[in-house]
């Protein structure tokens, strides 16, 4: 999954961030992820931004989305799936 079993790159942090935040990485992967964060301020900022985004999106209920917006999103997703 990673370029090396000894460390991960900034690109791999981007690829793995969702799994990290959802605690879906296994212990070794999570350890490599955090080793990287320990020295990479850019990735710390990125992960923190993603954490805030995920938390904010997680607080939006289906009923909070206006009906017309909901229909546009569903149409967009249907079109995207057929593309």
């Amino acid at each position: 999954m990673t370029e090396s079993d000894q460390h991960i790159t900034c690109q791999e942090v981007v690829e793995l961030v969702t799994d990290y935040l959802e605690r879906a990485l296994d212990a070794d992967e999570a350890s490599l992820f955090e080793e990287h964060l320990n020295f990479c301020d850019g990735c710390i900022t990125y992960v923190e931004q993603m954490r805030v985004t995920v938390e904010a999106v997680g607080q939006i209920g289906e009923t909070d989305v206006p009906a017309d917006t909901r229909e546009k999103l569903l149409t967009a997703f249907r079109d995207w799936q057929h593309a």
């Binding site: 090396s4 079993d5 000894q6 460390h7 990485l25 212990a27 999570a30 350890s31 964060l37 020295f39």
Partner: protein, 162 residues
């Protein structure tokens, strides 16, 4: 078990923001590596987690050892290793110099790697240790990465008296 932990100057953990009590007070947590539990370094793990302030910690209860850390269900800070604060910049410089030495020794020299060393120094010891190990890996493959990390461990252990 005696282990070590890097904390911010306000005695909080980098990944959890947990505020550690003063040395002597026990802290408990259920174990799930990288998710919960008290994470600490063996001496050989220090280069991977180098940070602001270094504490000696006593671990107790359930222990899980991993490749670059140990996780415990119970721990207390024992003392701050103030010597690390004096060594922080010296170690960073040592790693930078080692990176230059390795990059220049390669055939052909690794100019791209060398160019990142000096600009990286303000980021501190964890990054410079990583850069030196990555240069070693670029020259001699993945085993050289671990060898360089072991060299950094020896440097730290000797100067910290561990």
């Amino acid at each position: 078990m005696i282990a070590y932990k890097f904390l911010r100057p306000d005695r909080t953990s980098l990944f959890t923001d947990f505020a550690w009590p003063a040395p002597g007070t026990w802290v408990e947590a259920s174990i799930e590596p990288c998710r919960s539990g008290i994470h600490a370094c063996r001496v050989s793990d220090l280069p991977y987690w180098a940070g602001h302030q270094l504490y000696e910690v006593e671990l107790d209860g359930e222990l899980v050892e991993q490749s670059t850390k140990v996780v415990a269900s119970r721990a207390r800070l024992v003392r701050r290793l103030e010597a690390w604060e004096d060594l922080h910049d010296v170690y960073t410089r040592m790693c930078a110099d080692r990176g230059h030495e390795l990059a220049r020794s390669a055939a052909p020299p690794l100019h791209d790697w060398e160019a990142v060393i000096e600009p990286s120094i303000p980021e501190g010891p964890a990054l410079l240790g990583f850069v030196a190990a990555r240069i070693a890996e670029a020259i001699a493959g993945p085993p050289a990465y671990r060898t360089e990390r072991a060299r950094q461990t020896d440097w730290l252990a000797e100067r910290l008296g561990l």
